[in-house]
């Protein structure tokens, strides 16, 4: 069975500082990897995903994540955060042959302070 671990439930950071949100997964087979973001009082939105190819994937708002197969990780990074990045971030995996079923981590609340 697959599982996803988000090691940090909360990450406080000052504006313009760099941030890394950690995600590790467990699976005996290859997986697809996702980061979703949930802004306050909203549903989840896809931030970025890794299916194959380049291990570094980027979002349109400056976040990036790197797939590391040997460490079974898919950490999310941003070199300089904004107040508007305050949100909850969920890492998720799916199996290539069962792509409709997402398995989510427990989430990391990123709080950006001025």
């Amino acid at each position: 069975a697959q599982s996803v671990t988000q090691l940090d439930s909360q990450v406080p950071v000052f504006e313009e500082a760099p941030v890394e949100l950690r995600c590790n997964y467990s699976s005996s087979v290859s997986v697809y990897l996702f980061w979703y973001v949930q802004y306050p009082n909203q549903g989840l939105q896809l931030l970025l995903k890794y299916l194959s190819g380049s291990t570094l994937v980027e979002s349109i708002n400056g976040f990036e994540a790197e797939f590391n197969k040997s460490q079974t990780s898919f950490h999310l990074r941003k070199p300089s955060v904004h107040i508007s990045d305050t949100a909850e971030y969920f890492c998720a995996v799916s199996l290539p042959y069962n792509t409709d079923k997402l398995i989510f981590g427990t989430g990391t609340r990123l709080q950006v302070f001025p």
Binding site: Q6, Q42, G43, Q45, K49, P96, T99, D100, T106, G107
Partner: protein, 117 residues
């Protein structure tokens, strides 16, 4: 623009009541999902549907049922609400998987925060 709507943002019900949560998507997606979101537990899949009148159990189906009579609408039913069903409920939809097996993004509604007293 992609849109998934849920009938209520906030709902308060009493123990033992029958509760209907409605979800509508306007993207002609085949797949629809119901999750519940709880602090420290993330999102857990309750039920999903690949097509009209089709349903499959997710990870935590106990105490819930679903109905999909039309492609665009997926309802979650709590036959007899209990306090441990107090939660945020999220609906999502996605188009059919491609032949290449590439996954499709799930699009989420804004959620319904249900409180059972």
């Amino acid at each position: 623009d992609v849109k998934v709507t849920q009938s209520s943002r906030y709902l308060v019900k009493r123990t033992g009541e029958k509760v209907f949560l409605e979800c509508v998507q306007d993207m002609d997606h085949e797949n629809m999902f119901w999750y519940r979101q709880d602090p420290g537990l993330g999102l857990r899949l309750i039920y999903f549907s690949y097509d009209v009148k089709m349903k499959e159990k997710g990870d935590i189906p106990e105490g819930y049922s679903v109905s999909r009579e039309k492609k665009e609408r997926f309802s979650l039913i709590l036959e007899s609400a209990s306090t441990n069903q107090t939660s945020m409920y999220l609906c999502a939809s996605s188009p059919t998987r491609g032949l290449a097996g590439g996954t499709d993004t799930q699009y989420f509604g804004p959620g319904t925060r249900l409180t059972v007293l």
